[in-house]
């Protein structure tokens, strides 16, 4: 008898448990609403609030679509691959431009051409859109971008008697030389391809042609040589040598007068060093102008069950209304040409960041991008640690390394 009772109890408990689950997972109005999962990475509270507000606006306009935000923690690219492998990827998600070639080539994201207005697309900065285009098809709409610029300490400039930010390589070197004194370096330069590639562009070099590395040229060597020479001559130091985590810290802790970073410096400096009076200037000109631009787009999973609705989400979040919110928040530079003006009007001192996008190339180097960046960084390290005789040799070896 006892046994029977306990069995019954167990049964009731188990059934209750399942009943509980099914009750929880299905809200009453599930049938009338389409849920679109939106995958993104965690960012600062201000940026999270911006996205939440954009989502709220969207849900007001589209009452039949509900956006379920999924914040992906840890290594985003790794987590995303695991989600794809287990078929649990979100319908819409952030995609960094450097990862786009792989995701586009593997056809895991859906071309958006069917869903978007060709005329409206022209409003996006062309270089950004190119990063998400493959074989003439558009796979993602960029939401914002960041170019690299010189962030400099105005007080140090004044003290050294420099009246304007350097505009050429020569001026940059002279300024860095003058600013290097009393334990402060003229510049902080990290040995990172994502920071010295602009100098290669400025020397007229190309990094890749499709998926093929083509940076074993005299132009690329010239750019790399100039960058490393600033370090070797002692006008600049790496963040590690300065005892800081990254370039931003070097400017914030007044250990360097100039750093090359992107718009993410603005909220960082506000937090970390409100007392540092800094300015933003365009990267100097070499033989020509050149810069890198970092961008993130909204893309759609090719397996999404609600493609039409997912497309609406993407279009809204990269649309004028949402990007106006981005522009006004000042947290990132909106990806639309029509919004760039709004941004620079509100934040005139940040105009250089917007001006450079015209000649910038996106941070994307084909399917072997990760390998290319790795071996470029290594080439710079080799040159800096004097493991090779010159930049040309280092770059030749780097190209050979990428099979």
């Amino acid at each position: 008898m006892k046994k029977l009772i306990s069995l019954l109890m167990t049964f009731v408990l188990v059934v209750g448990l399942f009943a509980g689950f099914s009750l929880n997972s299905e809200p009453a109005n599930a049938a009338s609403k389409t849920v679109i999962k939106l995958g993104c990475w965690g960012s600062s509270p201000a940026e999270t609030e911006l996205l939440d507000n954009q989502i709220k606006e969207f849900e007001k306009l589209y009452p039949n679509i509900k956006i379920e935000k999924q914040v992906i923690t840890g290594d985003y690219n790794q987590q995303m691959q695991v989600k794809f492998a287990s078929r649990t990827e979100p319908d819409v998600f952030y995609l960094d431009v450097s990862l786009a070639p792989a995701y586009m080539a593997k056809n895991v994201i859906e071309p958006l051409d069917k869903y978007i207005d060709k005329n409206d697309v022209k409003d996006f900065e062309t270089s950004l859109l190119n990063g998400f285009t493959r074989n003439g098809k558009i796979y993602g709409l960029p939401k914002d971008y960041n170019t690299l610029a010189i962030f400099y300490n105005k007080d140090m400039f004044k003290e050294a008697g420099i009246t304007k930010a350097p505009t050429t390589w020569k001026e940059l070197e002279e300024a860095a030389k003058k600013l290097t004194k009393d334990g402060v370096k003229g510049m902080a330069l990290s040995i990172d391809a994502a920071r010295f590639i602009p100098f290669m562009f400025q020397a007229g070099a190309q990094i890749n042609n499709g998926d093929k590395p083509v940076f074993n040229t005299p132009q690329a060597a010239k750019g790399l040589d100039f960058y490393v020479s600033l370090l070797k001559k002692g006008y600049a130091a790496t963040p590690k040598e300065l005892g800081v985590g990254w370039n931003g810290d070097a400017l914030a802790q007044k250990k360097a007068a100039m750093v090359i970073e992107g718009g993410w410096m603005i909220p960082f400096m506000k937090d970390a060093a409100p007392d540092v009076n800094y300015g933003i200037a365009k990267l100097p000109k070499g033989d020509k102008e050149g810069d890198l631009v970092f961008t993130v787009a909204y893309v759609m999973s090719a397996r999404s069950k609600h493609k039409a609705e997912a497309a609406e989400v993407i279009k809204f979040l990269t649309g004028r209304q949402a990007l106006l919110m981005t522009a006004e928040s000042g947290l990132a530079i909106p990806s639309r040409k029509s919004m760039g003006g709004v941004y620079t009007q509100k934040y005139p001192e940040r105009k250089p960041l917007v001006d450079m996008v015209r000649y910038s190339k996106v941070y994307q180097f084909g399917l072997k991008g990760a390998k290319i960046l790795d071996s470029l960084t290594k080439a710079c390290e080799k040159l800096y640690y004097k493991k090779v005789k010159d930049a040309r040799t280092a770059l030749e070896q780097a190209v050979k390394e990428i099979k």
């Binding site: 691959q81 492998a85 593997k106 590690k240 990760a370 960084t377 640690y385």
Partner: protein, 314 residues
């Protein structure tokens, strides 16, 4: 007569229940281990077999086909690995790391265990103090060591007191690996100390008493009693420490920001495996690297067993 019959019946009944019990026991036994068997099959044996299969295929998680449909490439992944200069560099780094860390770490751990095992005042405090790094997360430890090894960090300031030059520890190709070796030794020495301590407590005191009567000094006690009788523990620690060091990942990842730099000087096999699998989208190749690492660890463990593995009798 009646009584006899009853006993006989009883006996028969008992035999029956015994048999039933035996069978029941076997079933129960299996029932008890089922959760483990199932979880081991799902989370350990299954993935292992799949990974082995993947090591002969070309596959990435972004392929829209299942891994069973991915194309076979035979031994290409394995052959590639031995021509891949970065992998060979990673293997060399890992070997140096292991050869450096294991003996130093175990020697220090044994010394600490001997000290903590003696009648020292406040030995409980020391036991806890040495064990704390083991329960601290490696990432936290790495971040802490980055502060110590910074160019204007504590270590360089101490060096400055003795008029020694400052080094860029994590930024120098020759110093980056030794730096993370120091970190590893510091952070896991406590774990091995505790295991040694358990081993020390297994050695009967009578042996020491006998030795003392024979006139042995402290050093002789350690050399001729403690170490020989501690052999199984030493073997265990060696194996665990060797496996752990060959799988080093987090320290290298944190210190180099995932790149294994500067100039691949902190590139370890597992870091390289992670980068090939997830960053270069070559899961098949990454699986092959994992199995090469497995083979290396397996062979090394067999060799160790040859030297340290025999049973010790008290």
């Amino acid at each position: 007569m009646n009584l006899q019959l009853e006993t006989k019946n009883n006996f028969k009944k008992n035999v029956m229940t015994m048999k039933k019990l035996k069978r029941r026991e076997r079933v129960d036994g299996w029932l008890f281990v089922t959760p483990f068997v199932i979880s081991a099959a799902v989370f350990f044996i299954g993935p292992l077999l799949v990974a082995f299969m993947l090591s002969f295929k070309e596959y990435s998680y972004l392929d829209m086909i299942s891994m069973f449909e991915a194309p076979w490439v035979g031994f290409a992944n394995y052959l590639n690995a031995f021509q891949d200069s970065t992998f060979l560099k990673a293997l060399l780094n890992t070997s140096i790391y292991s050869l450096g860390v294991v003996p130093i770490q175990l020697t220090i751990a044994l010394l600490l265990a001997l000290i903590v095992d003696s009648n020292l005042k406040g030995k409980t405090f020391f036991r806890v103090a040495y064990y704390i790094p083991t329960v601290t997360s490696t990432v936290a430890v790495s971040v802490m060591f980055m502060f110590i090894f910074k160019t204007d960090g504590i270590l360089n300031r101490i060096l400055a007191i003795f008029n020694l030059p400052a080094y860029n520890w994590f930024g120098d190709t020759r110093l980056a690996l030794p730096s993370i070796m120091m970190m590893a030794i510091w952070s896991s020495v406590g774990l091995y100390m505790v295991i040694f301590l358990a081993g020390l407590q297994d050695i009967p005191t009578s042996l020491y008493e006998a030795a003392r009567i024979d006139g042995a000094n402290k050093l002789q006690e350690v050399l001729y009693i403690t170490i020989p009788l501690l052999k199984p523990t030493i073997f265990f620690n060696l194996v665990v420490s060797l496996i752990g060091t060959f799988q080093v990942f987090d320290q290298a990842y944190v210190v180099s920001n995932g790149t294994g730099g500067p100039l691949d000087s902190t590139m370890t096999v597992v870091l390289y495996l992670y980068n090939t699998g997830f960053r270069d989208f070559q899961m098949g190749y990454a699986s092959a690297i994992a199995f090469i690492l497995f083979a290396i660890i397996f062979i090394l463990t067999l060799i160790q067993r040859k030297f340290f593995g025999e049973e010790t009798e008290f």
